[in-house]
């Protein structure tokens, strides 16, 4: 779950990570007031869940409150599309207004999970303010990593050794030392998968500030962070994906082809998508019902897939393990009854209770072709769509 910059900065502030003075605004009048109180150059930043806002026009520097009003009027209520966001247009409902800082240097600091080393990792670079993946590719030696023992936390000696390599001066190093410890505290206590401060700025008078802040929380941990759950901004998400999420389903809209895919398991999802391409078309979306879906969840899944107008045919590929195929069949039949659409389906059912499931589906009024396996499913799709 991603947080907005203003939410992330609020958390940073609570944990004594220094940030420039700033406030969030929902209207251009609020925005104007804030800039007045800043009394100088300010930065207005669109609060959207997309990286690369700057290049896309989502970050504007204003000289005074009049200017701020104008910029806020333009931004608020519009949408933003960045090179990182794909086709998605993100609505701008809030802007963050921040005092402009006199920056002498931009650094990069992030905490994330290193899945290969199986532990948290602190990533630091003197090349802040840029695309860090580009830095990693072109000048890998400019990226320093500290692996953190998750039971011990970040050892002070490791941070000290990192900082001593960089010659940032005693004053700046000491501030970064505390910032790293405080960020780890946030990372650990809030189950973050990512905290990224880019840039971590050094001002003209050697103060270190988090100029931008990106925080992502592990979705699987949300059950123990009820306060964080409330921070989630639903407007930033594709509505079908949101609906899926609320039913604990993983749905992804893909603007590629005509096949709606219902699967269980990520591996099978990927294999299924590969098969739609073999069938001469491509997936319109895919929905992973997960390991142990109930009848209701499957019904919801059916509704989400069929609400996608790109879908001309549905490929259901379920392998019962912890999921029971008969339960899935009932869910699909209920979905069909309650929406009454007539999108044809190709169905591959195997594993736990798949025979019962087939019987149930055969008795229903659904337009179904059964296939034994994925290659024959591909043939069925070709036939149904008239692809030669």
């Amino acid at each position: 779950m991603q947080l907005h910059e203003y939410q992330a900065k609020n958390i940073l502030n609570k944990h004594n990570v220094p940030i420039p003075f700033g406030k969030v605004a929902s209207s251009y009048l609020e925005c104007e007031e804030i800039v007045k109180s800043v009394n100088g150059r300010s930065v207005i930043k669109a609060q959207v869940h997309a990286g690369g806002r700057g290049k896309a026009g989502g970050i504007k520097v204003v000289e005074g409150s009049e200017d701020a009003k104008k910029v806020a009027k333009e931004m608020l209520g519009s949408t933003l599309k960045t090179f990182q966001s794909g086709d998605t247009e993100f609505p701008i409902n809030k802007v963050y207004v921040e005092e402009a800082s006199d920056i002498s240097r931009e650094l990069y600091l992030a905490l994330t999970m290193d899945f290969d080393e199986k532990c948290p990792v602190i990533i630091f670079s003197t090349e802040g303010g840029m695309n860090i993946e580009e830095v990693a590719e072109k000048t890998p030696d400019k990226i320093i990593k500290i692996h953190v023992n998750p039971l011990i936390g970040p050892s002070p000696y490791k941070i000290r050794n990192l900082l001593s390599q960089l010659n940032l001066g005693k004053k700046v190093s000491q501030q970064i030392f505390s910032i790293i410890q405080n960020l780890y505290e946030i990372f650990n206590s809030l189950d973050c998968t990512l905290i990224e401060i880019n840039p971590l700025a050094v001002t003209e008078n050697d103060k270190v500030l988090a100029l931008d802040a990106k925080i992502t929380i592990d979705d699987d941990s949300i059950f123990r962070h009820s306060d964080i759950k409330d921070l989630f901004d639903k407007t930033q998400m594709n509505q079908a994906e949101l609906k899926a999420l609320s039913s604990d389903l993983a749905y992804i809209k893909l603007d590629r082809g005509k096949v709606g895919c219902m699967v269980n398991g990520a591996g099978l999802a990927m294999a299924t998508m590969d098969i739609t391409i073999k069938a001469g078309t491509a997936p319109a979306n895919f929905l992973d019902v997960g390991g142990s879906a109930s009848e209701e969840r499957i019904e919801e899944a059916y509704k989400i897939i069929t609400s996608d107008r790109d879908v001309e045919i549905i490929l259901v590929n379920l392998f019962g393990g912890i999921l029971r195929c008969d339960v899935a069949a009932k869910g699909i039949i209920n979905g069909f009854k309650n929406t009454n659409n007539s999108i044809p389906m190709v169905v591959v059912l195997r594993g736990t209770n798949s025979d019962d499931a087939r019987l149930l589906l055969e008795k229903s009024d659904l337009d179904i072709s059964f296939a034994e396996d994925l290659p024959s499913a591909a043939v069925e799709i070709r036939n149904k769509l008239g692809i030669s």
Partner: protein, 292 residues
């Protein structure tokens, strides 16, 4: 499979809710010796008339001496259940639960270091040794057949896919191991491939990988250096959209090494036969075993 095939193969099941109970029955049907259950509110009762349910793993271990633990506990409590089983010296733990917080598993993994317990999963279908009638997890017992091909996979459902193909072609399995799709898990491809290499009953190995991470490359390295048996591999996710979450975080393209093409190249370089699609795995194994 000496590491997974214990002498007594007595299994304890922790978490006997809807899914746990259903799957426990399937395990018993397959022939697995389930000796005890653990459930916080069902202690003192019996499962299926004759299997005692205890309130704690320690009690269950003292009374029924299981070697293997199978966990269906809900995600918020699953890491604690794993630690409870580690502390009770269970040799092999299979954790089926999906959705365990990453931070929990990172800590469990660190806690496991230096301990004798082997953890498979979480978010995995577990394993099955057809010959021994041992099923620890949720791989459907109906699709397997005793034989000499070892199957290992990150994806649960694709494990079944591969097994079905093999069985249809009359090729049986020495063991089928689903290591799970989570980014932090207890047992890796390398671990299972080592077991297959040592196992007398295994003649060939099937490995099903995914995009994301570097675990397939590590496996390739190991195969190249110390595996004598033939390996067929398939990597799924070639058409997956870049940078988007595909149901589990492990399948995100995080860098070049995470790409399917990179993984396939490493495996080819290690002499592995590549099945372009997982639907071709059975056929590839058949060809390979004929050639042999």
């Amino acid at each position: 499979m000496s590491l997974l095939d214990k002498d007594s193969n007595k299994v304890l099941i922790q978490g006997l809710g809807r899914d746990g109970s259903f799957q426990a029955e399937r395990c018993i049907e397959f022939g697995t010796k389930i000796v005890s259950g653990v459930h916080p509110t069902k202690a003192g009762k019996k499962f299926k008339q004759n299997i005692p349910i205890f309130g704690s793993v320690n009690e269950a271990v003292n009374e029924t001496s299981p070697d293997i633990g199978l966990i269906f506990v809900p995600a918020p409590f699953a890491a604690d259940a794993i630690i409870e089983q580690i502390d009770a010296n269970i040799s092999v733990i299979v954790c089926v639960t999906e959705g365990i917080p990453i931070a929990d598993m990172v800590k469990v993994n660190e806690y496991l270091k230096g301990k004798k317990t082997r953890l498979i999963g979480p978010n995995c279908p577990g394993y099955l040794i057809p010959e021994k009638k041992l099923k620890v997890g949720i791989i459907p017992g109906s699709i397997v057949k005793p034989g000499n091909v070892g199957v290992v996979s990150r994806s649960g459902t694709l494990t079944y896919e591969a097994i079905v193909q093999l069985t249809k072609l009359g090729i049986g399995q020495s063991a089928c191991v689903g290591i799970g799709g989570d980014p932090i898990n207890g047992t890796s491809f390398v671990d299972v491939i080592d077991m297959f290499e040592e196992d007398e009953n295994t003649e060939a190995i099937v490995m099903i990988g995914e995009i994301g991470g570097i675990k397939e490359q590590e496996a390739a390295e190991r195969i190249k250096n110390s595996v004598s048996k033939p390996v067929v591999a398939s990597i799924v996710g070639q058409t997956a959209p870049e940078g988007r979450r595909m149901g589990h975080a492990g399948a995100v393209i995080t860098g070049k090494s995470a790409l399917a093409s990179e993984k396939i190249n490493s495996l080819k370089d290690a002499g592995v036969v590549i099945a372009d699609s997982p639907t071709e795995i059975g056929q590839k194994v058949k060809e390979l075993l004929k050639i042999k």
